[in-house]
Amino acid sequence: MNSENPDKKYCNCTDAGCYCDKAQYNEAADWELEKLVSHLDKCPKCQEYTERNKKLTELCKKAELTSLKEEERKELKKLLQENLKNK
């Protein structure tokens, strides 16, 4: 995937997908967003991907997913290992 190509106005579908993904994490540069928007104007397939992608972002936010920190995971593993040894 092309990570930096601000000169050309248009991009291909692969790059558009990547810019759209980056946008979900607020990590797309302005020039990437501009290219994405230009691409979406003429690509129904990427429009569809963008809609799905946005929906996925909304679902992940709505689910308020959380996970254990690495050290918490290690503690759990240690606890399990100790108890497995004692079996």
Binding site: M1, L65, L80
Partner: protein, 186 residues
Amino acid sequence: MVENTHQINPDHWVDEYSDYLFNYAIVRVNDREIAKDLISETFLAGLRSKKYFKGEATERTWLISILKRKIIDHYRKINSKKGQAEVKINYTDEDQEGDWLEEKVADNFEQSAEDNLVNNELGAAIYDCLDKINPKHAKIFKMKTIDNFDTEVICNEFNITPSNLWVIIHRARTALAECMEEKWFK
């Protein structure tokens, strides 16, 4: 006849199920530390009773059933403590007579029980879909989307370039969106 095909392997429990169980618990107890304790207790109870695992359900389903009992026990304990506390309350002011302390506590639940249930089901659907995609992609997606790790940190951890990372994220998101269309929107 049910085929007993599911195996039990406690060595994988933390990597494979801790996040799923943690999300399940945290929605119900609304406290990170308590949720963590409940997961520890669930795993230990699982170890103690693994000889009873018949392989009819998946390990995850079996562990969830243990966790459910732990959550019920947790609320039973809270209720019995609350009962004791209520007995000890003395109303010093006559005007306060009959006012239970509980009545004065603000209702700090921002979400309704229904919202919690929907969010929990949604979380479960997302984790189910994550289970179905490439494990490395799922792990990177979790780090990026759930844990909010910086791109650089993930790249260092997996020894990949930012371009590689975005390719992986793209594949993970495409597969997940497809799976969620099936699981959630249909």
